[in-house]
Symmetry: C2
Amino acid sequence: MTVKLSDIAQEAGVSVMTVSNVMNGKSARVSKATIERVQSIADRLGYVPNMPARSLAASRSRIIAALVPVGENNSLLLSPHTVAVIGGVEQHLRHRGYHVLLRGIEHETDIPDAIRGWSLDGAILVEFPDAVIDRIRIDQVPLVALDSYSANPRTIGVRTDDHRGGWLAGARLTDAGHRHIIFARPPYEGMGVVGQRWEGFRSACAAADASVRIETEQVHTTFEAGREFGLRLRRDHPEATAVFATADVMAVGIMAGIAEAGGRVPDDISVIGFDNLDISAYTSPGLTTVAQDMPAKVAEAARIILDEIERDEGPRAPVSLGVALVERGSVAAPRPA
Amino acid sequence: MTVKLSDIAQEAGVSVMTVSNVMNGKSARVSKATIERVQSIADRLGYVPNMPARSLAASRSRIIAALVPVGENNSLLLSPHTVAVIGGVEQHLRHRGYHVLLRGIEHETDIPDAIRGWSLDGAILVEFPDAVIDRIRIDQVPLVALDSYSANPRTIGVRTDDHRGGWLAGARLTDAGHRHIIFARPPYEGMGVVGQRWEGFRSACAAADASVRIETEQVHTTFEAGREFGLRLRRDHPEATAVFATADVMAVGIMAGIAEAGGRVPDDISVIGFDNLDISAYTSPGLTTVAQDMPAKVAEAARIILDEIERDEGPRAPVSLGVALVERGSVAAPRPA
DNA sequence: GTGAAAGCGCTAACAC
DNA sequence: GTGTTAGCGCTTTCAC
């Protein structure tokens, strides 16, 4: 059978409680000599704590869930961006002794059950629409909502400074001289992220020149949807000279569509994206884009949730992380009229 | 407090065991009337099973781990391909009532502890080198090794038919007339996957024409490494007319490097990849590549592990899934000599 | 600094 | 068909 605390206790001639205290690093309660003796026996026997038993007794599991919405095809909506976040968070949590339960959410009503059933210590809600976050009613368990602008006090938002990102894009294009720009954004978006980018973008354009004309197009956040838009761009918006797309996948698709229709980027049309995904370096020209500070985002999410769990700190303010413009060549001066 | 079995039992006027049987669908042991009564009370009270308690008592957790090697930077090695696998597996397992624990593995010695600690019902080992899989010594717990050719009888390999995939690539290039081809593969590869692709590729070339010349280049599986190779391709291999890269990311990088160095794909050099990632459709020309049947791979991995858990079937044979060539325009006849 | 008692919520095994 | 008994391996609480 597997080694348990009582096996070690017997061999060391101490009580189970003492062994438990040693294993949990409660060194204040045990003498140094005992600690070493117990530790060495545990190592020799190859003791591995039984997590379910620990969770049951302590009603905390050292598990943090990564909850991700599932799409229409019922599989996880894992964008490259989401993946980087989850992978990074797992690393931070693992080093602090926590585990990550990856769970797709079909109906938002599954969220509370998922959390209660496992006595989760916390959860990271990845890219849910703000409206869903708004409706969450769970106390006691720290909840970090990534990329959310929900005002729900039970959740802590961690996101990029999308407003400033939008502003950078707008400033870059207007500085280059563009006065007729397409804002390409996903349809049916209940997420504050896009709204923030829009506000920032619009202010930058307005600040540059009151006469800047912006047209909004609804384009899904996929390469294919972007490509289709790129194909009809010149026909539908003959006077536009630049596009700001709210996501790199879409922007890369738009560039492909433009090229396929015989246009040139950036000579005929400038394109600017958002996210700074790997793929934005794969195109030619490379995609000029607004970079999110992913490592910081991940570290913040992990730090906040661990602080809440271990220090039981009070409600925290949401966090917005820095952005930066990355030049790669898809933006130039507008073509002569 | 939270609702537990005894609350329901009391309200329904039955024993805890009866409620437990109802909640676990052991309908053979309970009368229909009781089932309905208990069920409705449970629903009304909002009962959620306590998983740690269940795991402790039953010594099975309904958790399956997805174990992933961590890289030098200590974060999860999540290639787009890996991500698709994990996301798909999660979906299958969730629908069968299981949960996925995502865990990065720094040292291979962590694998047994991870499994024992949580009373895991099974584990999926994602893209570990064959040598690591070979050394695993865990009984009782079903282990699926993705993309492994290890002969370890304690694990079940699920992978693509890499040999045939390599063969398809070789046949496509030689059929087009190429007689001097570069095989670009990752260095220090302890994985059978690459070896299989190589064998298949070589046989196809040999079958086509004994005079086909193959040169092997070691290139990391990244866009950047591919690009660097593409840049020096013409200088280092002036007579080569085609490249077979063992991964799409690398192939896309190679295409970018070739273009940057002033070459044209496919007019000067043909390129063929492996994986059929999304990005292989983003380039122009698109990347001709060997497609893996991802949905089948995922479904097989999930099916095998669940079968082993629930039906406790004996040792199973490894599974290889189909491949298909996807034409996108990066292969043409060799340039005139 | 150490230990004894009690119990976390559930299920396996068997009795009725 | 339903109930009883026992215990999974650990932590909490409180006594010494």
